[in-house]
């Protein structure tokens, strides 16, 4: 899975999570998801589950931080690093 595919899938997952809350907002890569109030704790749980399944990675508690989860671009970097085995 290359970086482009990862970033496309991450965007898709995040957009779906936000759509399920009925906000009707299209997110861009830099938009603040947590600080910006677009994701609440319930959606984070769903998001973590989705990411784990889609990319076949284990996300540890100590990785669920605002620096990894606050934007699509931050999530991209995190998932890429995990897929690369970091």
């Amino acid at each position: 899975m290359n970086a482009e595919v990862i970033s496309e899938k991450v965007r898709e997952i995040v957009q779906e999570t936000i759509d399920s809350s009925g906000l009707g907002i299209e997110v861009d890569d830099e938009m603040s998801l947590i600080e910006g109030g677009l994701l609440d704790s319930m959606s984070i749980v769903k998001l973590v589950q989705e990411l784990q399944q889609t990319f076949d990675i284990d996300i540890d508690f100590s990785d669920i931080t605002i620096s990894n989860f606050d934007s699509i671009s931050a999530l991209n970097q995190y998932v890429e690093a995990r897929k690369a085995g970091a």
């Binding site: 009925g22 906000l23 009707g24 907002i25 299209e26 861009d28 938009m31 603040s32 947590i34 600080e35 910006g36 109030g37 677009l38 609440d40 704790s41 319930m42 984070i44 749980v45 508690f61 100590s62 990785d63 669920i64 931080t65 605002i66 620096s67 989860f69 606050d70 934007s71 931050a74």
Partner: protein, 537 residues
């Protein structure tokens, strides 16, 4: 008027001018620090945006994420004659409309996180009408306006007044303490999450807010040099009071926009936090996170609070074990009373099941259904009088009269207004208060009184259960329980029923049990029971 909230904060701006008032932790790991002096200057700029003809009966609404701009807007509102309300940035735009109607909202301050949510209101004519009488101020955090916000502002400007402001470009304005007699008696309006129906606005007197600060600061021993971590929303009385206490006592407040355990723990280490006001779900996530840094924070923190609800005994004790050197306070109250009881850290080990004794300036009575005092140890409704008592619900006399009443004759001064909390409690021989659930949740099965909170407590005694909730279908006489189990647990419905059957009398046994990995939540983080109930059907 002897003192005012505004005067006390103004005094802090003079006494602590060079100290750091706020640190905002940002998602990129960097932080923004603001001195008391700088906070006053920023608040002055926000104040200068308010209408000159703003009257004392018009309300200012703050619909923002936790930020230095949010705190500056709170301070600016405190310097005005008007009451203000902080609206949780997680609540929907629909609810904002409801709040605007109830509170005679004149100004609504938004930021990037909330302005987008207001788009939802462009679909409904009634919502548009409500918003048309409100002036919206969008405070942005950078010079330019990104396309998505620009487009949103254009959409909204079709039916309401809206302007986008970059505070760095606003001219300085010198804040002045208003004359006490010109200020609205009700200074703060907090909307209760209201598990059923629309939220109710609780009106709070400015002087009472000062009394709350004094009482809290004394209990926690707050002083200049303390660093407090703010995770709770300012729309919640505990989070709001923490902010006032921090400002008035010259402490440093760290603003963290994350409820994730790792972020909280890192913030405590990075900023050397001495005190955290928290709620059960937050401590529960810390207890279950199994993070290495916990040992380190035990040496940094001086105190933490468990507020806004209680934890299961096993989790409370696990928290105690994780942080053996930290003082743990438990507080009990409602938005209508602020704080009725507090369990001091020194009593935690012996009395951790109780919610402590009445806080200073508060008197509690336990009354039976006929309005008589119950005997020691007996269960009755908790009546709150003294500091913390609300002025009433805004625009709802009927609801106010049900909650805020005179005591029955012979029990106190005739015109003394007290709060009928609707909570059931008992007091032990040492004067400690124990909670037994909500009066309106109590029901009878075959003539036996059932307190659903007792069922939930027994569920949480199970090692693999994190949280629980329950509902009762009166027509069918059926009890349903909802269980949030640990992620890796293989717990089954059958196993839970079997576990309960050894601990509960048969009339308290649930007929259905539903398992969850996480619960739906209300904006304030509480379990959303109505949603659970509707899903269970």
């Amino acid at each position: 008027m002897s003192h005012s909230l505004c005067k006390a904060i103004d005094q802090s701006f003079n006494s602590f001018s060079k100290n750091t008032a706020l640190i905002q932790h940002q998602s990129n790991g960097e932080s923004v620090a603001l001195s008391y002096e700088a906070l006053k200057a920023l608040a002055g700029k926000v104040y200068s945006l308010f209408d000159e003809d703003l009257t004392a009966d018009q309300c200012i609404g703050l619909y923002m994420q936790r930020s230095v701009e949010h705190v500056a807007s709170i301070v600016a509102s405190i310097y005005s004659k008007s009451p203000y309300t902080t609206i949780n940035n997680l609540v929907s735009a629909k609810q904002v409309c409801h709040i605007a109607q109830d509170s005679n909202l004149k100004i609504l301050i938004c930021d990037n996180s909330t302005i987008l949510k207001l788009r939802a209101l462009t679909q409904d004519e009634a919502d548009k009408k409500t918003l048309s009488s409100v002036r919206i101020i969008h405070i942005r955090n950078n010079e330019g306006l990104q396309p998505v916000y620009k487009q949103t502002i254009e959409l909204l400007s079709d039916f309401t007044t809206i302007e986008s402001i970059f505070l760095a470009e606003v001219k300085p304005y010198d804040l002045q303490v208003p004359r006490a007699e010109t200020i609205n008696k009700s200074k703060l309006i907090l909307f209760t999450s209201g598990s059923t129906g629309n939220p109710k606005g609780v009106m709070i007197k400015g002087d009472d807010l000062i009394d709350r600060v004094e009482s809290e600061s004394k209990a926690y021993g707050l002083q200049e040099g303390d660093v407090l971590l703010n995770i709770l929303p300012f729309s919640f009385d505990v989070g709001c009071n923490q902010l006032y206490s921090s400002l008035i006592k010259g402490c440093r407040l760290v603003l963290l926009n994350s409820w994730m355990p790792k972020d909280m723990v890192s913030a405590i280490v990075t900023y050397q936090v001495t005190g955290v006001s928290g709620v059960p779900s937050l401590w529960l996530s810390i207890v279950n996170a199994n993070l290495e840094e916990l040992k380190e924070i035990d040496g940094i923190l001086r105190y933490i609070t468990i507020s806004g609800g209680d934890m299961a005994e096993k989790d409370r004790l696990a928290l105690r074990d994780l942080l053996p050197n930290v003082k743990i306070f438990k507080t009990y109250g409602q938005t209508e009373t602020f704080r009725s009881g507090m369990l001091l850290a020194e009593h935690f080990d012996a009395k951790h099941k109780s919610v402590g004794k009445p806080v200073e300036g508060v008197e509690l009575l336990i009354l039976d259904d006929n309005g008589n005092k119950v005997a020691q140890g007996q269960i009755g409704e908790i009546i709150h009088q003294g500091i913390g008592t609300m002025l009433g619900y805004i625009g709802d006399k009927e609801a106010t009269n049900r909650k805020l009443k005179n005591l029955p004759q012979g029990l106190g001064e005739n015109n003394q207004k007290v709060i009928y909390t609707g909570d059931l409690g008992s007091i032990d021989e040492d004067g400690f208060l124990y909670l037994h659930g909500r009066q309106d949740r109590m029901f009878k099965v075959r003539g036996n009184r059932v307190y659903p909170e007792e069922i939930e407590r027994e569920l949480c005694a199970h090692e693999e259960v994190i949280e629980s909730a329950s509902s009762y279908d009166a027509a069918e006489e059926l009890i349903t329980v909802y269980v949030r189990k640990k992620e890796d647990s293989a717990l089954t419905e059958k196993a839970i029923i079997k576990f309960l059957s050894t601990r509960l009398p048969s009339y308290m046994m649930p007929s259905h049990c539903l398992l969850y990995d996480d619960f739906p939540r209300t904006a304030s983080g509480k379990i959303d029971v109505p949603t659970l109930t509707s899903q269970g059907k």
